[in-house]
Amino acid sequence: MLEYGTKIVAGVTPGKGGTRVEDVAVYDAGEEAQEKHHADASIIFVPAPFAADAALEALENGIKTLVIITEHIPIKDAINVMAYAKQANATVIGPNTPGIISPEACKLGIMPSHIFKSGSVGMVSRSGTLTYEIAAGLTRKRLGQSTCLGLGGDPITGLNFIDALKMFETDSQTKAVVLIGEIGGNLEELAAKYISEEAYPKPVVAFIAGRSAPPGKRMGHAGAIVMGKAGTAENKIDALRNAGVKVAEKPSDVAELLAKLITA
């Protein structure tokens, strides 16, 4: 992240206060770090059993944008973190996310930088490597990205698709949006409703993973499970198509569909 230009001002690891990593000072606690540095944002890699505590510590100490990379945080803990974030007026990205990147500007995450190029396509996704796959396809077709946001693969995440769509709408750099969803939950359906009801002004292209997933089985991500009939890929694809969104059949089709829409 430092190489990319992200201004990392401090690290927090209980017990490692006083040390330095890549010449960045490390503190034992968020309070100390914030007294000195007044950071706006933070990124958490703390293991799952302790991650929620770290998140609460960050929020308690004035962090307004919090990226939680950690996977396997219990649902109950995530629910508590989100409630506190709401109270603190802070934005949580994740958990179980690769983070957020505005190519050639800033990166708070673990995505491979070289795949992304600056441009006008906003990306929002529940996945990690699938996002890189699609981003690589966009970059190859010279469709650079304005910002790529990883919502995370868990059932409870800080942001949802509608939050991202709203932000992309008011972002002058973004001319089109790529939405990458998967089975489980109803966030894609709610996004489709939003796109339709608000007559969303920018073109949206989507890919939904998990058409081949059987019901009742968790496909890797904690949030990727079809419960009964709810959360199927078909439901999501239908809802999005009905809202005027172009839905790709395979990951590489996203760049093709987008290219057509943007030149049109």
């Binding site: 996945s127 490597t129 796959e133 690589a136 059932p155 990458i180 968790r218 991500h221 395979k250």
Partner: protein
């Protein structure tokens, strides 16, 4: 982690939620002992973690201790939807006046737990919610406020109860919330929650799913999962122990990838080209060669697999490590099935070199690789 009906009922009993009198039996003789303590008739219920157990013949009735033993013997020798019945739960049949529903689940959009109640129990609650939403009472639970006894009583009233039944039902609802919170459930429900002919309430069936990510704080259940006492197959348990996400499917194309979304998309793409995936397997990020080798072993342990597609897009995952893992697997496990490998990302050149030198082709495009894999699965060619 799905709990068995008997596990859920035992927990509810601990918390003071009434359930029909009953007991567990793992052999017909034991079922006699249980039945001897109960009033006839009884229900004999196969303890399996599949949906639609009743329709599949997993719930039978008996009117005597002898009949209970014969019924238990029948069920214990059966398979319900392919799952062998290891235990039966024998309980008193109840006189039902009304079937209700109460459960606690998650509302992803609101980022909260939500309590769901309905005066229409014993049915698929999702169907009730979609066909007659007015018959479903949803109470979102604000984590800062919690869920209080007065809210439980409110729900009881809205379900049509009055007098002492308000508090009785309210207490049960309240307790179910406590169980859910204590056990980190992602779903807990009583369906049906029965009002008996003498106005009492009993949880006739109970379902609990513990959040897998919370198992580290429920070691008793984590142990059961790792010892095979859950719905997971032996391969799935081995995968869990080694931090691999594995789901067995029905087809003949083995799949390994890094990242759940990418693996799902890989399965979808295989299907798009007319192939049938045999499994889902996510090796996760930064997998060392041993983990990749184990992944190959698990996938190839399924005899149906005719060809294996490995799709790697390396961010923190290094393509050369993956390549080494594949060669390790070939050596240790002996890989006889054709491999189709797609490598892209960190150290892709080195990974490609390692495999090409060992005579294994590496492709750059995911779709090309998927197509090639499907061809091989149909023709068996290498």
């Amino acid at each position: 982690m799905k709990l068995f009906e008997y596990e859920a009922k035992n927990i509810l009993t601990k918390y003071g939620v009434p359930v029909p009198q009953g007991g567990l039996a793992s052999d017909p003789h034991q079922s006699r002992e249980v039945a001897a303590r109960l009033k006839m008739p009884v229900a004999v219920k196969a303890q399996v973690l599949v949906a639609g157990r009743g329709k599949a013949g997993g719930i039978l009735f008996a009117s005597s201790v002898e009949e209970t033993e014969r019924t238990a013997e029948k069920l214990l020798n059966m398979q319900i939807k392919g799952i062998p019945v290891k235990n039966v739960w024998v309980e008193e049949k109840i006189q039902v006046k009304r079937e209700l529903y109460f459960g606690l689940t998650i509302d992803r959009f609101r980022q909260q737990y939500v309590a769901i109640a309905s005066g229409v129990g014993g049915m698929d609650i999702e169907e009730v919610a979609s066909k007659t939403p007015e018959r479903v009472i949803a109470t979102p639970i604000n984590p800062d406020f919690g869920f209080h006894p007065f809210q439980a009583r409110q729900i009881a009233k809205r379900m049509g109860y009055s007098g002492t039944q308000i508090s009785e039902l309210g207490r049960i609802i309240e307790k179910l919330y406590l169980v859910g919170m204590d056990y980190d459930t992602e779903l807990i429900e009583m369906n049906p929650l029965v009002e008996t002919s003498d106005g009492k309430f009993l949880a006739a069936d109970a379902r609990m799913i513990i959040d897998d990510n919370a198992l580290f704080r429920h070691q008793e259940y984590r142990k059961k999962l790792l010892e095979g006492e859950s719905e997971l197959s032996p391969q799935e348990v081995e995968a869990v122990k080694n931090d691999l996400a594995y789901v067995k499917l029905e087809g003949n194309i083995g799949v390994i990838g890094n990242g759940a979304g990418l693996v799902m998309a890989t399965l979808d793409t295989i299907q798009y080209y007319g192939g049938k995936p045999a499994n889902f397997l996510d090796v996760g990020g930064g997998a060392p060669s041993e983990k990749t080798a184990l992944a190959l072993k698990i996938v190839l342990s399924d005899a149906k697999v005719r060809v294996l597609f490995i799709n790697i897009l390396g961010g923190i995952t290094r393509c050369d490590e993956v390549a080494k893992g594949i060669l390790e697997a070939k050596e240790k496990v002996g890989v006889t099935k054709p491999l189709v490998i797609r490598l892209m990302g960190t150290n892709e050149e080195e990974g490609k070199r390692i495999l090409t030198e060992a005579g294994i082709d590496v492709l750059e495009s995911m779709e090309e690789a998927a197509q090639r894999t499907v061809e091989i699965s149909k023709t068996g060619g290498a």
